[in-house]
Symmetry: C2
Subunit: 202 residues, 2 copies
């Protein structure tokens, strides 16, 4: 057990060690690094983290992260508003945007159905997706979920929920190997997968 | 180049990516992790970092990190006050304390003399070390510096500065391989090195 001569240092190390992938040795290294910085630099760092958590908003339409009530994608009227791409998290929105090959809108579920982790359909933004489709103007819903059991379950659940709406349901091409997480796929594969999307079959 | 739909997110990622060893992908992962935490958790995190930098003090005697004007080691009168171990940073104080094999006091230089990095003797706590020795009561000064050219130069400089004081000058045993940084040595080697210290020879 490490002995700290300062409670402030010990507390900062404890907090930094809570970050994913940061052990106690790394946390001490980070704390000593921050100690060597100007006060303004550390203040900017702490404020950026605090403001992110306190001030961030989620788009009222698609639940994407945003600084305003409506995100820049939903507010962009040059985009194809008849197509909604359903993703698990804001990270996948960023990944698809980086491919530059998709011009429709998004809907962020906030995860996938996972009984093992206690995530039920009602914990996800599925009802809000159904509402968006029912409000009209949407021709196609593209399911862009991870090719895992949880992703497949979620796709199946959404397909059943949207069955009555006559919207065209597609899924991104399975260029991604079965069992892979979407966030680890390369941009080319992801770009192809959304261009070559095919009708969804249960 | 990554596109962010939120300036708050982009700013937080930029700040997190400034940490040593954290790239932009890791920074995004950390930011998304923090977004998922309770507001209180993130607030505690940011405050711990901010308080560390703003409130931390350095001991008026040995320059070790402390929450008070005098650190716990200098304030502990059960310790051997006639021996001062000279180290580069507060990290080495923690390392020697963890060995549990040293009962004297410390003096933190704040680095080593390094013309390459523009660090001059006057940038280090060498004058304050000389003053402590001259104030009396100190029989032995143990040099525990890295076995690098900069560490050797600093040891030589201190030896010359203390030459007139008749204090016994020792150096930790060179169990540590030549060219190694002290912070990467194991506790046993470090413990042995301070117990088996030998008279300093220039």
């Amino acid at each position: 057990m490490q002995t700290y001569s300062s409670y402030l240092l010990e507390n900062a190390v404890n907090q930094l060690a809570k970050l994913p992938g940061v052990g106690r040795k790394s946390a001490l290294r980070l704390a000593l690094h921050l100690l060597r910085q100007d006060e303004q630099v550390v203040s900017d760092f702490a404020n950026a983290v605090l403001m992110l958590r306190q001030e961030v908003k989620y788009c009222k339409h698609c639940r994407n992260i945003s600084d305003t009530d409506e995100c820049a994608i939903c507010a962009d009227h040059s985009r194809d508003r008849s197509t909604i791409c359903v993703v698990e998290t804001i990270k996948e929105v960023m990944l698809f945007e980086n491919t530059g090959r998709y011009r429709g809108l998004y809907h962020v579920l906030g995860g996938v159905i996972s009984p093992m982790d206690g995530i039920k359909p009602s914990d996800l933004e599925i009802d809000s997706l159904v509402s968006r489709v029912e409000a009209g103007g949407v021709d196609e819903v593209v399911l862009a979920l991870s090719t895992t059991m949880e992703g497949d379950t979620t796709a199946y659940y959404i397909a059943k929920k949207l069955a009555g709406t006559h919207v065209r349901l597609t899924t991104i091409a399975r260029g991604v190997a079965q069992g892979d997480e979407l966030q680890y796929a390369d941009e080319l594969t992801l770009g192809n997968s959304i261009v070559n999307r095919v009708p969804y079959r249960t």
